[in-house]
């Protein structure tokens, strides 16, 4: 067993980065259009006018970049939320944030606001929906500035339920063409056609990662409990607020560009914690990288499993994640 913490952490991060590169290359190679691995570099650097080059840079590469940004954001948001609420079941999905976002998007689609404001209004609506739900959940479960974790989870689950019912209501009265867009959103997909949005998602996710590191020591203190953290000189109320805000922004962003992709934020930090313990100095970065790897793998599976038909990636993460969720529920060591 490796004793020293820094060397253990460097090892983990190195393994994750190698894995990320490997998974990205595999994802680049597979798809309905057969492109051989041995030709990839040749195509990427020398054959700019071939159709293979277009497939790689215009279809597969943006998806991988988006998978990195969204998977990373969701993994990080999950690690932040679980850390700050000291509960392994908290994540953007269980807190109802994803539900709020899909409600916002469904409303925009069915009201045909895109024809007035342009396509950009879709991610904006998802983002606003996520943020509104977050504040709603936060203030409903905060009593005099103190968040009660049980009421937070219950409020989240209920809001999630209400918004999914409303989405179904909208779907049942929507026109067939609107229905398709809504389903795309509710199930989550990395097929985002707008490259500018992908770039924004990438930048914001990396900024979120950097900012969250200002809170890693305080999150470590919070793991010991509210009073214990206060006694170690941690301003718990302000830490809660800021971390909740960062997680909301990351989730809102992810949902707005890729729709609802459940369980990444739940499963990833949980698996990492088994190896690292509740040390957020490593947990945050490792969750980000693992989230990215997990989502790129899931998206690759979604693309090729019944090729040429493409499954929504949320279906794959939901199945894998749901199984691990049940496993986590039954684990003895439920507490962080």
């Amino acid at each position: 067993m490796i004793k020293s913490r820094p060397s253990k952490y460097i090892l983990l991060i190195s393994v994750l980065i190698i894995l990320l590169i490997f998974v990205s290359i595999v994802s680049l190679c597979v798809g309905s259009a057969q492109i051989n691995f041995s030709n990839i570099f040749d195509i990427l650097f020398y054959q700019h006018n071939t159709w293979q080059y277009s497939v790689l840079t215009e279809i597969r590469l943006p998806r991988i970049v988006l998978g990195f940004a969204v998977g990373g954001s969701l993994g990080l948001a999950g690690a932040l939320l679980q850390g700050v609420f000291r509960n392994p079941l908290v994540e953007p999905y269980t807190l109802g944030i994803s539900g709020g976002a899909s409600l916002g998007v469904s409303l925009v689609i069915v009201l045909q606001l895109t024809s007035i404001f342009g396509l950009f209004v879709l991610p904006l609506a998802g983002f606003i929906g996520a943020i509104i739900t977050m504040f709603f959940v936060y203030f409903l479960s905060a009593k005099k500035g103190v968040l009660k974790i049980n009421s937070l989870l219950l409020t989240g689950v209920m809001i999630s339920f209400i918004s999914s019912s409303l989405v179904m209501l909208i779907m049942s009265i929507a026109k067939p063409e609107a229905l398709h867009s809504i389903i795309f959103w509710v199930m989550g997909s990395l097929a985002q056609p707008n490259n500018n949005l992908i770039l924004i998602a990438l930048i914001v996710s990396l900024i979120g990662l950097i900012i969250s590191y200002f809170f890693c020591i305080r999150l470590n203190g919070l793991a010991l409990g509210e009073d214990e953290a206060r006694n170690l000189g941690i301003n718990t109320a302000s830490t809660r607020k800021w971390v909740f805000l960062i997680a909301s922004l990351l989730t809102g962003l992810s949902v707005s560009v890729a729709g609802v992709i459940g369980f990444v934020g739940l499963v990833v930090p949980h698996m990492i914690r088994i190896y690292t313990g509740p040390d957020h100095r490593i947990l945050l970065l490792a969750s980000f990288l693992t989230g990215a790897v997990f989502l790129i793998i899931s998206d690759t599976i979604a693309r090729v499993i019944i090729s040429p038909i493409e499954l929504p990636v949320g279906v794959i993460t939901g199945i894998i994640g749901g199984i691990i969720f049940v496993y986590a529920l039954n684990r003895k060591q439920m507490r962080l």
Partner: protein, 268 residues
């Protein structure tokens, strides 16, 4: 005598309800002050107010001639260390936990502990007899060991004053004596000022240099153990009949409970 902490005309509680009313205590350098009183008399509230977790509605706590509530949470943590009744059983090693006591001293962008932090942690773990379990997880050690690790963590904060909330509850007699012996040894060797909430009056009599007895959120009496622990005050505050004898070894008061069946015998 040098005063370490002064609590002046303090009113505090939860929400708008005051639990503590007009509390005045002066804690001197080298004191072991015991806070005793019946359940619900405000002992833990007093401790939480003295470490800044609860803000008072009136009055002040003065430490090093500064008002405690004008200090940041971090500054308070460098002056006041607290051992709570229980902590979350987290999956971190005892050494990792103890070294977290250095958090109040971290610089703004410091992510890792320094060598000096580890040196201090090991020094105090030696003193508290926790060095031998340094690689075990906090979630897997016994309650008594966890309490000792908490004391080590508190010492690593290098505080002016150490507060303990019922350090002996949930512990068997071996660990009760072990932890209180340790507190007294730290008090003598490091000249550490200690305030602790205690339920057990005999342990309070034995280990504290001064006792504050609370009743309904007010101070009934603050004095040496033999002045505070008389059958009269105990009957007044706890509404219970006891016999107070002298401990043959220490000469400190020793309280013997009187059961209902034996009440007749005390009259004669």
């Amino acid at each position: 005598m040098l005063s370490v902490m002064d609590i002046n005309n303090l009113f505090a509680g939860y929400g708008n309800k005051n639990i503590l009313k007009d509390i005045n205590i002066s804690i001197n350098n080298g004191d072991i002050l015991g806070i005793i009183g019946p359940n619900g008399s405000g002992k833990t509230t007093l401790l939480k107010t003295a470490c800044g977790i609860i803000k008072p509605t009136a009055g002040e706590v003065v430490i090093e001639s500064k008002n405690l509530y004008s200090l940041s949470v971090k500054e308070i943590a460098r002056k006041v260390a607290v051992v709570t009744q229980s902590i979350e059983p987290v999956m971190i090693t005892v050494l990792e936990y103890v070294v977290m006591g250095r958090m109040p001293y971290y610089k703004k962008f410091q992510f890792f502990e320094s060598k000096e932090d580890y040196r201090l942690a090991e020094k105090f773990m030696q003193l508290t007899d926790t060095l031998r379990i340094k690689d075990q997880y906090m979630s897997e050690i016994s309650g008594g060991e966890r309490q000792l690790a908490q004391v080590a963590r508190a010492l690593v904060q290098q505080p002016l004053i150490l507060l303990l909330d019922e350090p002996t509850s949930h512990l068997d007699i071996t660990h009760q004596i072990k932890i209180l012996d340790l507190i007294r040894r730290l008090n003598k060797e490091l000249n550490l000022t200690v305030v602790m909430v205690l339920h057990d009056l005999n342990l309070a009599a034995e280990y504290c240099t001064k006792l504050t007895m609370l009743k309904d959120g007010k101070i009934h009496l603050t004095d040496t153990p033999d002045q505070v622990l008389t059958y009269k005050t105990i009957e007044d505050v706890y509404d219970t009949i006891v016999i107070v004898e002298k401990n043959p070894l220490s000469g400190k008061p020793f309280i013997i409970p009187v059961t209902e069946e034996n009440k007749q015998l005390t009259k004669s």
